[in-house]
Symmetry: C2
Subunit: 200 residues, 2 copies
């Protein structure tokens, strides 16, 4: 493990993580082999072990990179979850993305939970952190709505955010297993009903 990374080192490390993240998305975490990673990243075995302790360390890096990219993909939407219109735009974008993908793949983060949560405690923690970063955007938005009196004073933004995330993740899972984007649409329509039922 080097103490400091030069620009070159940083670039190599990033290339490796990106390649690994692609392979995990395509084939699953267990099926990602380090040989494949090296080949796709145009890196050698020693480069890999120069930047990561072992396979698990790389997988945790992949989780963080995946979380970053999922949040980045929703950039411009997650910061406006403090209006009904903003929430509707977010939901619509999520459904549109699944249609584009033909209902394949599910949630890049959620899919990893079943694969890693019970096998590597560190990975579970990283995944939990990823969900927290995601959910926080919605929770904050709902809190701002409550402050502005758009949400009932009795409503609990934290619970509403958790329930919405559950509908999103469950909807994505059903979408994936049934190969039907309509499953997510239905789930998010339910989230809309739920949130509106807490409107002031």
């Amino acid at each position: 493990m080097p103490q400091v990374l030069t620009a070159k080192g940083q670039s190599t490390r990033t290339r490796i993580v990106q390649a690994a993240a692609q392979l995990v998305a395509e084939k699953g975490a267990a099926a990602m082999s380090l040989d494949d990673v090296c080949e796709r990243a145009h890196a050698s075995r020693s480069q890999l072990y120069h930047y990561f302790d072992d396979r698990d360390d790389l997988v945790r890096a992949v989780i963080n990179a995946t979380t970053d990219s999922v949040l980045l993909a929703q950039d411009g939407l997650l910061d406006h979850l403090d209006t009904w219109a903003g929430i509707d735009r977010w939901f619509a974008a999520l459904v549109a993305l699944q249609q584009e993908r033909e209902a394949r793949g599910g949630c890049p983060i959620g899919s990893l939970v079943g694969q890693l949560a019970e096998r590597d405690p560190g990975a579970r923690a990283n995944l939990a952190d990823g969900f927290e970063r995601w959910e926080a955007h919605l929770r904050d938005g709902l809190e701002r709505m409550q402050e502005r009196g758009r949400l009932s004073a009795h409503a609990d933004p934290a619970s509403l955010a958790t329930s919405t995330m559950a509908l999103l993740q469950g909807g994505l899972l059903l979408t994936q297993v049934r190969r039907d984007p309509g499953q997510l649409r239905t789930a998010l329509a339910a989230a809309r009903v739920l949130l509106r039922s807490a409107a002031a």
Copy 2:
């Protein structure tokens, strides 16, 4: 592949599937090795290949066995989802189970989606079938409630059932990743709100 299975053969086949199902639940589908299966089932390699085409064939059998056992574990609850009390009992039992398990493992079926859906189309179909069998119980219950006038005539039992399954699966996923049974409790409380909002 034998055409007919004798009682002995049936018993051996079952022992193998049960052993495989345990290992999949404990270590994940990818980490289940056929050697482990043979050892735990007190069977030999040729017995395994006598009853299953290959690894994938065994995994599909595991999915079906797991679905059966999940539905069996809810026996006595799934047939009474046509009253509010019956639905509440079901939700309470699901939460209690997660508390008992200390929020570990998530949904035995749902966890497999991320592991198998994109890798084996047959497995995906089996999983979808499992979810359908599960969801059908709720949908049927809601339809009976609608017939009896307990649910609004405008309500859509199919959508409500799908949304409830999404909340259940998403709630289980969040419970697993956060090691907090409260996540499922929150999600199912939301399901209750959603269903009640469709009451007549």
